[in-house]
Symmetry: C2
Subunit: 162 residues, 2 copies
Amino acid sequence: MKMTAGVEWAVHCCVAMSRADGPVPSARLADLHGVSRTYLAKHLQSLTRAGIVRSVEGRDGGYQLTHAAADVTLLDVVQALEGREPAFRCTEIRQCGPLAAPPEACTRPCGVAQAMHAAERAWRDALAATSIADLADGLERTSGPGTLEGVARWLRSDAPAR
Amino acid sequence: MKMTAGVEWAVHCCVAMSRADGPVPSARLADLHGVSRTYLAKHLQSLTRAGIVRSVEGRDGGYQLTHAAADVTLLDVVQALEGREPAFRCTEIRQCGPLAAPPEACTRPCGVAQAMHAAERAWRDALAATSIADLADGLERTSGPGTLEGVARWLRSDAPAR
DNA sequence: GCATTCATACTCGGATATACTCTGTCCGAGTTCTGCAGG
DNA sequence: CCTGCAGAACTCGGACAGAGTATATCCGAGTATGAATGC
């Protein structure tokens, strides 16, 4: 039950991209956060496939959000990287073994699966309640106004990684 | 973000043990559900370490619940097998990179981690709301009364696996 | 008949292989920008 | 001065290794049972 580390990277990248006015190369985003360039690129591909970001090829290319930051939720990003399948997978073991329940009696998911899925639904609902815009606003509140403006300026500048 | 398959096994085993009047060998529990004997034994060890079940050694030994079924929640079982660490691990990448936030400004978890942890809290709360006794009652409702009594009878009998 | 001893069979527990997924890297295909030549 | 073209540099995208974890298994340590034995 561990989440890919790339989720954290992707969320922070989305927050940074939300204030950029043009495409941002993946290498630039990686340098901003001090993470592996090639591995972050792999996760950004997942975001592209999910339709959260658009990739612009060629010189001056990069990634940019396809929708407004307020329309992208944490759930979208998590599911883009982790997949949409639930963490708990019911294998219907009640239908196995010597005292197996007959299949015709199993028209509904068993109680265990129901409870597990309800819990995951609560988890997804909580994630869907937070948008990238919310996180950006929160960052401005805690780290001071102008923080994201500085990030955007650095992203389009030619300053070296360090 | 996948959960160990052993979680499903362990929960069903707890439901079965809740109606047994003595220790049940792991091999018997495995045969009841048609799963690997040795691998289930490994998961039952985790339940033992977590204090959910007690192991009785020797002939006629086995596993039995240490507490009443109503006092054991799904969360207890899940955490016994998956660990108590959250799925999302914040690596504080905001403190990395050329525009890193200074450590003294990071006294509180960043917004991303807060949202992720809040979602996991909702998930844990939902799991903690369901007990083994609840699942046992639900099973009796759907599969008919006496189902668990039959399981308990089979567990202490000498009937072969199949 | 009863207590003691001993062998046995059965249990759990940890140490040991294998498969799969996550992590990290590399190189090729494609596109856009830029500089330059020509009109 | 404007247009068209060619080169180059930079981008993404998918294919390729290594590490760590989940899965599955095996064998040894320990204990309660039960029978056999002696009193």
